[in-house]
Amino acid sequence: MSFEPRILGILCNWCSYAGADLAGTSRIHYPPNIRVIRVMCSARVDPTFVVKALVSGADGVLICGCHPGDCHYSEGNYKTMRRIPLLKKVLTDLGIEDERVRLEWISASEGQRFADIVKDMTERIRALGPSRISAELDVDPREK
């Protein structure tokens, strides 16, 4: 069986989660490799969430928030914008590929964009292969 990456999506409630819902109501198909959890604002995304995900077997983490300027909480996404690159820097230093963590802006009307991003990310991670962390820790949800 070919490698099927597991990707965690952390989506903000107001724009991105609604955008993902729109992809659903518009029946826009994308790979099932993404699993989404919801936060109120992308600013709630604690770097430890990402680490936790990687340790728990995720091959990639996609964080989505409102477009800059659109934040429901005025400027939460600007904080995310600063925080995630820093995190990525640390992760790269730890040997985790840059592409495994991705930050995107998706509005409530961008169902197609969400699907496209998921497709693209799945392909990239598939090409990258399984995350070293999950391999080393030997976690696999399929074998419990």
Binding site: L8, P32, M40, A43, R44, T48, Y73, G76, K79
Partner: protein, 578 residues
Amino acid sequence: MESRECKIGVYICNCGTNIAKVVDCEAVREYISELPQVAIARTYKYMCSNPGQELIIQDIKEQGLDRVVVAACSPRMHERTFRAALQTAGLNPYMFEMANIREQCSWVHDDPQAATEKAKALTQAAVFRVAYHEALEQMMVDMCPNTLVIGAGIAGLTAALELADAGQKVYLLDKQDHLGGNLARVDLTAPYLDSARDLLTERITRVKTSDNIELLLNSRLQELKGYVGNFSATLVSVDSDDTEENKAQKIEVGNVIVCTGYKEFPAERVTHFGYGKLPNVITSFDFEKMLRAGRIECKDGEIPNYVAIIHCVGSRSPEYHGYCSRVCCMTALKYVHEIKSAIPSCYVSDLYIDMHAFGKGHEDFYRRTSEVKTMFLMFGKGDHPIIRSAGPKDDCQMLIEVNEQLSGEVIEIPADLVILMVGMEAREDATETARLVNISQDKDGWFIESHPKLDPVATTTDGIYIAGTCVAPKDIPDTVAQARAAAGRILAKIAKGKIAVDAIYAEINEDSCSGCRICNELCPYSAIEFDDEKKRSHVLSVMCKACGACVAACPSGAIKGRHFTDQQMFAQIEGVLR
């Protein structure tokens, strides 16, 4: 992860065939039912239907479930429905979690096996998460029905009257010794040339005779403490300084409306207009004075033959203010009519950049102005006309040189009197006001609304409202609408009597807090206060909007985002990836 003692009921919706067509709901049920804390797992055709909800209620009552998971459509659609069902069954509504296996699973995937696996993971995540849910209660906070209105211009008067007419107590504060603000300096209003005086007199008479309005003239706000519903304001006389405690007056209010208005752009800043040097170059407010006195004349008492009006003085300019002041175009057109009425033989030229005649009746008014043969001249943005004194041979006092855009010629305009349409700018004390009531200003000094479109009169500080020209330049109808809107917001709150504080907010554990104050600056709602004595921060739950920015940022992990705790999130992550 440690397991917690709980009895979770899981309900998987088929949504007709919407979910069941792709996701093997039965397989999901089987998988989930084996999880340790799951007491019961069922599938049903339509969970959102009444029988579906009844099923949950019955199970809670009969099986003693203490937590519920529904795997169905998007929580944005039915989370509220199921929470209500829990409440009906006597369970705290927050002991609930939804898994979105329709919009984000069955509708977007076509491989049944992969979709089923994903549905399992999503449902499992919800189960893991819900195990850590806590019963949350909505808090109700008392609210003082009194309102403080700062600024007694047309906005303040309107807001105060709206509240007072509804029977609420209002404190109307103004630094000046009279009511009316900037509008009191205006004679007629555009575009219908109605009397500004009548408009103000009506409001002022009603304000003065209202039993519910307490006027505080010659006074200013010295301090505002507290939070929405429970503010304590200290007011002092304008001429007292901060040390004179004895003159201070303390009032209790639930809400504050800031309508401090604008001040006119100081024309002397634009040197090439010669304002202050050339005697017959005046500002629009100087001209209003002439109009009220019935004396449109030059300094030497001569009746002007040529009047020139220059738009956008201080506005739409890279050097001064980039924004448009919104009312000057119409005011200028108003002046044209007024000049033509008083001095029919006078030639009026009007120098503009773009004619902003956008409101009701405005375009028609502009056309009327053309009918009386106004010479409209267009100059480019950033390309100012230059005024100089005329020579002895000229039949006029001044000459204005301008690169006219519609003809493409550099021309000279004769003028005996030049009116500068000075724009609006934020008051000097706006920064001080913003600091006192804890709201922010944009780069031009205007107060920032909570949301520029859908919440134009609220601010990010609960209980503080803004209206009129302190938010941005606007004309009278728009100001009046905003003032009433702000009053309406407050009336809605008063009608409820209490302020409901959402059960989801952030909390700081004082023991873990290091007092680093990182969170203080981060909060867009200024909901985090720092206690100087304890050297600890704490969240004013009333003001918190639960975005969680502080939770993620706290280096000591001292902040807990209720309903989005680290534990809950970790459990969910683990569940979704397992």
